[in-house]
Amino acid sequence: MEHARHVFRIALVLLVVITAIFLGRGFLVPRSYGTFGPYRADNVAEQMKIRPPAHAGAASCAPCHKAKSEAHDAGGHKAVSCEVCHAPLLRHVTNGTVSGKMPVDRSFTLCARCHRRIQGRPDKFPQVILEQHVTSKLEGAVCLDCHDPHSPKP
């Protein structure tokens, strides 16, 4: 064994390196890693509050837009949430006070997205061939001439 001294030395070096790596690793593991599985458990709570919910649902407009809401809920668009045609409540109201302007899209393309006759739509869904349904020029807010978006029955 006298001539294997260098083997023992390199083995020692190895041992030191490997121990250092494992000890060092202990300090680097993120705090909540592994609580529930091989992931950082703190992230679950972080994901819960990653951002405030933007959409607040169809009923959320009612307190401030009573008339519109009532008309809407009685009409053919009751299944279409206000936020679909406008925008998420968060863009408009934060903490109960108005903080931004709600977009209003008056263009016929808004209605066309849902009501234009194209391949793919179920037959029973009310849809129109735009060019036949609207005899005047197909532009701007034509649909609103005859339909109230909140209660579209002409």
Partner: protein, 281 residues
């Protein structure tokens, strides 16, 4: 494995243990080989873990308070999703709603809508911008006999190929059945993007981390519905809790003939489809 779980460093008061019946009802019994193999892997994994000093990685029994605090206990929910393709009108409201809710970067989608136009002479599929602006009429070279829309999104698989391949544990599946990405741990290798058979993941060009549908985890843990369900005007999309006996989604999954996407890959998706056509992959 006999090593004690690491206590969570936070000082929340421990919540009462979850109700036993709820926990049992959710997991269908699947005895036999898979369980055995699972156990074998766990033991083998545990050995590696012990050897490597990775005690943290072992998922032992948890006596730790759930991460939601008192407001939300993730052991009391198991989320699932049902999509009735026969109702979809392809308006793209869900795609826009998702984008507005989650700041999805341009050119990427967390949920999208596909249109299938099918006839004896061929089939045509499209999804312009994922359906963000709806769909235009298209001329087809063949005579279509049926056409329909299919909304798609992350399937929140039970046997997730994406979580399996994440090298750093940045992707994981929560106890309430949602597959999430930890943006602070993700190294942006893109392996999960490659591994997802459904194309639901992407690398966010701004944050350089993987991103995907979270079923709006920030909403559902507050009792709200995911944004896409919230804005769907036709009831195509439905979201529910498999731990609630009377939940309509659970009723549908339990009693209707539902299908899943790419069933042969055995990823066990938790998005179920009604009236799915064979053309859909």
């Amino acid at each position: 494995m006999d090593h004690a779980p690491r206590p969570l460093a936070s000082t929340r008061s421990p919540s009462p243990p979850p109700e036993a019946p709820a926990a049992g009802a959710a997991t269908p019994a699947d005895p036999g080989r898979r369980d055995f193999l699972g156990a074998a892997f766990t033991i083998a994994g545990g050995a590696v873990v012990l050897l490597a000093g990775l005690d943290a990685a072992a998922s032992g029994e948890t006596h730790v308070p759930p991460p939601g605090g008192d407001a939300y206990n993730w052991e009391e929910h198991r989320w699932a999703y049902v999509i009735d393709t026969s109702k979809c009108i392809g308006c793209g409201s869900c795609v826009r709603g998702c984008k507005a809710e989650n700041d999805v970067p341009d050119g990427f989608v967390r949920t999208w809508v596909e249109r299938y136009i099918v006839g004896p002479g061929g089939s045509y599929v499209d999804s312009p911008k994922g359906g963000l602006d709806g769909f235009p009429p298209v001329p087809t070279a063949f005579t279509p006999t049926k056409s329909f829309f299919v909304p798609k999104m992350c399937n929140h698989c039970k046997e997730t190929p994406c979580v399996q391949v994440c090298p750093v544990g940045a992707s994981y599946r929560t106890k309430d059945g949602v597959v999430l990405v930890d943006g602070k741990s993700c190294i942006g290798c893109g392996y999960c993007v490659q591994a997802c058979p459904y194309g639901s993941r992407f690398l966010n060009p701004a944050t350089h981390t993987a991103e995907k549908c979270t079923w709006c985890y920030h909403r559902i843990t507050k009792g709200l519905k995911p944004a896409c369900v919230e804005v769907c005007p036709t009831g195509t999309r439905a979201f529910g809790d498999m731990m609630r006996e009377d939940d309509p989604v659970r009723q549908t999954i339990d009693h209707e003939r539902v299908s899943i996407l790419q069933a042969h890959l055995l990823t066990e998706p938790q998005c179920f489809y009604l009236h799915l056509d064979m053309e859909v992959r």
